[in-house]
Symmetry: C2
Subunit: 377 residues, 2 copies
Amino acid sequence: MRPAPARVGDAIAAIESPALVIDLDALERNIARMAAFARERGLRLRPHAKTHKSAQIARLQIAAGAVGVCVQKTSEAEALAAQGIADIFISNEVIAEDRLARVAALAQRVRLAIAVDSPLGVDRLARAVQAAGSTIDVFVEVDVGQGRCGVAPAAAGGLARLVASHAGLRLAGLQAYHGGAQHIRASTEREAAIRLAVRGVSAARAAITSLGLACPLVTGAGSGSFPFEAASGVYGELQAGSYVFLDRDYADNEPAAHAPAFEHALFVLARVISRGTAHAVIDAGHKSHAIDSGLPAVWQRELAFANGGDEHGILQTRGGLGGVSAVLPALDETVWLVPGHCDPTVNLHDHYVCVRGGLERGVVEAIWPVDARGCVT
Amino acid sequence: MRPAPARVGDAIAAIESPALVIDLDALERNIARMAAFARERGLRLRPHAKTHKSAQIARLQIAAGAVGVCVQKTSEAEALAAQGIADIFISNEVIAEDRLARVAALAQRVRLAIAVDSPLGVDRLARAVQAAGSTIDVFVEVDVGQGRCGVAPAAAGGLARLVASHAGLRLAGLQAYHGGAQHIRASTEREAAIRLAVRGVSAARAAITSLGLACPLVTGAGSGSFPFEAASGVYGELQAGSYVFLDRDYADNEPAAHAPAFEHALFVLARVISRGTAHAVIDAGHKSHAIDSGLPAVWQRELAFANGGDEHGILQTRGGLGGVSAVLPALDETVWLVPGHCDPTVNLHDHYVCVRGGLERGVVEAIWPVDARGCVT
């Protein structure tokens, strides 16, 4: 692991660039607001840790009321379990037999859940769990509109019956996440997409219960849509993850009517290393922030970020040529970037630099490792 | 660091997915072909290690004739120097004083060069080097068309004089890289862009030599354009890096007339974890490969990769609906992805799984760490 780009007690000016920086005050407010939202509606909250990959942030979320966390990969679950997180849902399919053996072994040490969407996956999981002598919660994943993983609602019953037929597999309910709905800008259109998802969930649940099986829990929802799943009367658990940091792409959504007001809590600190007459070049590019959801925004500056490649960003003033050089940052000046997409941005860094007291006059209160960085297997 | 996704001696089938895999035979041919190209033209070759971030690959390149490597960041230089690479050019500006102190300290241990494009940068570098009692080669960076870092050609003379005025700074020549030209598809248009770049270089060199200063070396060029810089009579050193792996984006270029034939040598192994009737979902998304230069290609399969988010890719058959399910890969089947852009893809992984004997029946011959992964500072 690289040395961290700052030390506890450092002033902002002492943080090396580029660095992944958390505004702790904003982070804590985001965590509290989402916890209150779920608590007030009697819903379970299981935030997605694929966003932060951090046991420390998972602990803060659990302390605020979350029942545990979701992850996407077996190795993410292992990394967080190794740091004491004891209730983890791998909200994804695992099909390779050697990987399922690891899943089954992990289920001996923590409360573990997993998603399935194929008979082969169920049979292999059952064999792995039997060999390990462990038990695991199993959610049947239903495709509610994204067209990625999951069975069609009508097929959920048959797969649930297969799950229930195996000792060691506890039929826990339905995994129903509509990733495609999260960044639809208009709130009414997101709501319409989730209305269709809820219809699919209801059909899948009926397919299960019509077989005389229980469907204890429907889990899903993301930071763009969770108020709609929460109001559905069908979902019992929310998996939103990005709310903890609020990336630029989520902030660009028209907010839903009853959504808490989240704040940007994750930034990339960057520094001007070259300065032209009409542009400034900073030391942060594709290797410092992910651009799959668009380029980062420059925080509280009238500056546009243009693609400068892997290790550079190009800053230009917004809105015309007048007075350009007056407002461009100077050589060695720092700026804060709001990543387009937090999850893969976090995955580029080994450490969070955690600042208390704001981005201007704050102090580094902690350095947290990105525990599950690079855990793609 | 994560456990590696394979062990030496493993068969292909035993490699965990997703994994970053090198076809060693192809890698070695690429290294030999570029070395021969430079040698036959009497040019120095200093491949860019920002592509591979690996001391082992740097050693192979140096053994084949390279004079050393380029890097983009101080921490990359430190990581490679720690593994024994002794001749490194930071082909980029460094402006922060604490970072320049590290540059100066590193210059005590290895032959180090750096680029400059501002008087402030030169003055700070000179102070840092003086404080450390070290010396460093300094290239004046000239903007030859990319509009990123570098001074205008006419300004190169003044900056070179400033460099030459400082003890500890050896004026080494010009850094002149045209990143914007590398992916122009038509070979004649790339050639035209480099012709303009060469004009800028010639003007910058004249601006330096007219002051009675020597301009010992012009260094630059990338994997898309190096045959043109090589033929210019002006460039003395080539910095191409991506040739070693050949990403999809470079393969999409129309090759230059005299370019060696490079091969894809870097792949991401992915596995089908979910299977619909008209699509298959693999376990590799934005956290396994970078998409800043477009989505990956599926190697030797008539399959199109569609964006499935951070941890998933969606495969569909190319060319219509007929016989779709016949050629889609099955659940648990593996496919090889050719990354759109190798450099930031490598930066996501901790290890290279190095295969000898081809991707079908090969064997894992080595596991190499990505030594400078995450070195953005």
